[in-house]
Each structure stands twice: as C-alpha cells, then as structure tokens.
Symmetry: C2
Subunit: 341 residues, 2 copies
C-alpha cells in the first residue's frame, strides 16, 4: 500500500511538472531554433543547391575573403571590417574604408559569422543572398572602392587564381565580378558557430548555467523573440523605435528600408560584436539590453534582469571554425597596381 502511494505521488508530481513546458519547448514555440548538431542537416541549411558548397570553392572563397587586392588600394579585405578573429566584426563604431572614409550613414559592420542564417543582409535588408551582398562593400566608395573591372583584372592577372576558379567551377568558368563575390559568399556560408545555447536546445540540459537559464527565461518572457527569432536570433527586417526613440537616431541619420524597417542583428556572438546598434553608439551589452526594453518593448528591464539576460547571451558565443590563414598567390607584372587615390 505504502509503495503504491509513493508511486502515485511521483506520477502526480511528474504530470504537474509536465504541464509546465520546459525552457527548450517554450523557446521552440517562440520560433527559436538551434544550429543542428547533425552535420548533414546543418549542411542542408547552409547550402545553396543552385551553387553548391564544395571544398574547392570554400578554399578559393577564403583566399578572396582575406585578399586586400580586391579593394582599390590593395589594403582592405573583407576581413578588415569583418575580422574573423574578432567575432566577425571590426570593433569600431562605424567602419573606415578607402582613404580613411567613414561610412556615410555611420553604419556599424555586422558580423559575418552565421550571416548565412539571416533571411536578409545589410542594415536595410535590401539583399537576401550572401553572394549578392558580397558585391556591395567591394564597390562602395566608402569601403573598398573598387570597380568591378579592377577586381576582375586583378584576379584574372594571377594564374593561380584562374586555376583555382577552374578547379572550383569547371574549366570553362567565366571569371566575372559576380563569380568572385559568389566564391566569397560560399566561404561565408561555412562560418557558423554552434554555442552552448545550441547544445542546450539540442538536448544537453547542462550546457547552460543556472543563471543563464534564468536569463533565457527572462529573454523569452519579456518578448525579445518578437524580433530575435529563428536560427539567427535576428536577420529579418522589423519596425524600429516601436515604443520610444533611440537616443542616437540622428547619428548617421539612417532611415531603414522604404518602410522605415531595420534588420534585426543576430544575437549570436553578441558579447563579441560590440559596439551595438546600427550606428554603433552603445558599447555596453547590458545597456543595449535595457535600451531594447524601452525602445522596442516599452518595458523597463531592471539591472538585475539585464545581468541575467546578459549572462544568457554569453551562452551565444559560439565555437569558431579553425581557419588556416591563407597564403595568397602573388601578383604578376600584369596585375593592376594599388591605387591610394
């Protein structure tokens, strides 16, 4: 009899516990999604079947990503502003480009890590495809300032690059500017960083600390996932300044897209992607959390809650892929010279 009572008690307790959804269940319901732990599934997420990822393309794209010769001066590479050793960003308010030019809209460089999971790219979300996005900074006067012709001439003047394009895309490849940007995009697709947060959602209950779980609960409760959802925890355009004005809105005077909407940045590696917001005006992650409460959600997030939420966000710092620094093929006498002007 005694045994039966204990058995019933345990059953009742379990069903009560079961009635309350687990943190993971709540998260999934709020459209959060982990980076799949299974490599095959992950590959299907990051691959673009119309231009499939291959080892040769990635290796070529990596070289081009690190090659400053795709800029007019020969000094600025993709990695200059999206530094893979610094969370995929440059750690400055707004990027400095050709001739020490500041971005005219004072826009902050978003991280390249996990950008494959963004539904849209660039702060106004005007581009969705990574391979298209890569064309933009190369040509922008305030960034790499190179013409499409210059980039093509530089790359095609280097026999090793030509050989690598043939190896990656077939011997009849037409090495256009678009193809060059495309190889960079393929490399970028591989820059994913699974984190303790993903381990937790993938079933490892111990991947988050007690306070991180508390912070995660607050993150869900307060409604952060209205914008920060999906694998990227961001990466879609959303209304900005929903409840209050962003204190630094005038700096750079960025207007968002035609509807005034702004791309929600990914929260992955957010502890490393300071300074925050589209114009990089806030350096403190805690402050950013509190600001988002007031600006977007119309709530006051207490200092204690912000600390816990920040603790959770550290669990979004991911394991970076090992990157062997590429040895770039040398220029030839035909390669167009660097141009500082």
């Amino acid at each position: 009899m005694y045994g039966v009572k204990i058995f019933l008690l345990v059953m009742v307790s379990l069903s009560v516990l079961g009635a309350r959804e687990s943190l993971s269940q709540q998260a999934l319901k709020q459209r959060l999604e982990p980076i799949p732990s299974d490599e095959k599934t992950l590959f299907s997420y990051i691959n673009d079947p119309s231009d499939p990822i291959s080892e040769d393309k990635v290796e070529l794209g990596k070289k081009l990503y690190f090659d400053p010769r795709i800029s007019k001066s020969g000094l600025i590479s993709c990695n200059t502003c999206h530094n893979l050793g610094m969370g995929g960003v440059d750690g400055v308010e707004t990027s400095i480009g050709h001739k020490w030019t500041m971005n005219p809209n004072h826009l902050n460089a978003p991280t390249v890590y996990n950008s494959v999971f963004n539904k849209v790219q660039l702060w106004d979300g005007r581009v969705s495809h990574l391979e298209i996005q890569a064309q933009s900074p190369i040509q922008s006067e305030a960034e790499m300032a190179a013409s499409t012709e210059l980039v093509m001439e530089r790359i095609t003047s280097i026999p090793e690059y030509v050989a690598e394009f043939k190896k990656a895309y077939g011997k009849d490849v037409n090495i256009t500017f678009e193809k060059i940007a495309s190889a960079i995009g393929v490399f970028e697709r591989t820059l994913v960083t699974p984190s303790p947060y993903d381990d937790f959602l993938n079933g490892n209950e111990d991947a988050l600390s007690k306070t991180q779980k508390e912070g995660f609960e607050l993150f869900l409760e307060k409604g952060c996932t209205k914008c920060h959802y999906g694998i990227a925890l961001g990466g879609t355009v959303q209304p900005f300044q929903v409840a209050a004005k962003y204190k630094f809105i005038e700096i750079g005077n960025f207007k968002g897209n035609e509807n005034g909407m702004v791309k929600t940045p990914t929260l992955r590696n957010v502890a490393e992607t300071y300074p925050y917001f589209h114009n990089g005006q806030v350096w403190s992650l805690k402050q950013s959390i509190m600001d988002m409460g007031s600006i977007q959600l119309g709530i006051k997030i207490s200092s204690k809650d912000a600390d816990l939420m920040m603790d959770f966000m550290h669990a979004l710092t991911g394991r970076k892929p090992v990157i062997i620094y590429p040895m770039l093929p040398r220029s030839t006498i035909k390669t167009p010279k660097p141009d500082m002007n």
Copy 2:
C-alpha cells in the same frame, strides 16, 4: 694494361672535376648559408637565450601580431603591413598608416619572414633586435600611432591577455609596453621559410632546376653576395649607389644611416615582396636585378642573365609556417575605445 689505363683516366678526370668547386662550395665560400635542416640547430639560430622562445610566448605574440587594438584606431595590426599571407609585406609602394597617412620617407615595408636572420632591422639598420623593432611602428604617427600607455591600457584591460602573459612570462610579470612588443618579437622569430635553395645547399642537388643553377652561378659570379650574404642574403647595412645613382632616389628622400648606408633587404621570398627598393619604385624583379647590376656593381646584366637570375630567385620562395588565424580575446567595458583622430 688496358684496364690500368682506363683506371688512371678515370682518376685524372675525377681530380679535374674535383678541382672545380661545386656550386654549393662556391656559395658557402661567398658567405651564403642555408637555413639549417636540423630543427635543433635552427632553434639555436632563432632563439634568444635572454628571452627564450616558448609555445606560450609564441601563441601570445601571434595574437598581438594580428590584434589591431594595439593601434590608435583599433584597425591596424602588424599584419596589415607585414601580411603573412602575402610574403610578409603589404604589396604597396609605401605603407599607409593611421588616417591614411603615407610613410613620410616613402619607405616600403620589408618582409617579416626570416627577419630573425637580419643582423639589423629597419631600412637604416638602427635597431638590431626584433623585440625592439616591434616598438617602433606601433608608436609611429604615420603607422599605428598609439602611445605606449594606450597599448598597455588596451591589453591589460583584457583579462585573457593578462592570463596569457602570466602563463608565458610567470605570474609576477609586469605587462609593460616593452613586454608586449617583446612577445610580438618572439612570434616573429618563428617566421622562417626554408626553400628549395636551402634544400640545395643542404645537399639535395635536385632541389634547383638546371636554369636555377645557372642563375645561381651568375648570382655568385657577378658579385651579388657582396651585400646579399649570410642566411638572410641581406640584413646588414651597406653602401648604396656605389656605381650609379638610383633613378628614384628623390622619392621620399631617404638618406640611410649616419654614413648614408642602407640595410640590404633579404632576398628570401623576393618573388613575393614586390615592389622593390627602399621606396618601392620598381615592380619588376627582373628590372631590379638589372638595376642592382648598374647601381651597385657597375655592370650591365643582360636580359638573358637577368632571366636566369630571376629564375634562381624563385627558388628562394620558402615554405611558410602554417598559421592558425588567432581568435582574439574580446575587449571589456574598461578597454580604451578606438580613436580615429
């Protein structure tokens, strides 16, 4: 009797051949020296017993070498001008530093690869120690433009760096500016690139092609080793414009050291370290060879000979160490902010 005659003939031939020195023997006589193939010997060559190389120091030094936060702007690292993916140089006439400033003397960035074998550093040879050299560009207004205080504050504000200094130099380490530069220097000591040329001098007769051997002979015959000798094939100060004026001497108006002497650059990886000469005015390696004939040796080197010598110089392109791109520790809220001005 017939057998004895053949025997004698063979002996005479061998002794005649023996009388003519081998290419390697001639090279060693002209003070050339290979990078030792034996790791222990190599270590004794690159190590400074007063601050011995260790894995922890090299790992820390590598991070600092790639860290743009040791510059005022937070954008320029050692690797910006001494790019390890580009033969250890930036591939531009003269380096561009803070605020897009050109080097006031229009000096070309020398390669960091094998700089440990230079007897002196910098174009006027005013510094001999790599660890001291590293202090100079960090502070130079036209390069990284950082004060010693700023660099120290940046690095000591980052707990992971402090921990790495303790690990590398002991728990009582005093993280001074000199110590930071010193760690960079230790990393640089490891940047050696053994080449087919070394393999040849170390006994592998097949390491050079037929034309490379011909080029090597010309290199020795014409007297290039008067300045380009030692392991570095350069790296000592020597008189410049011995026989004729350098056509571009006015550009940058560099005067050399107090005796008008200039550091002979290493020829290792010379095929990758274009453009050439102290002010980077010549892009063609072949032209540089011919120019050196007229300017330094007072001889006309024919186009055919220059081609062969250039072919030999390609055998100086070395095998680069594999460099895992370092993941840098993130800044903290105490870290002094980037300063673009």
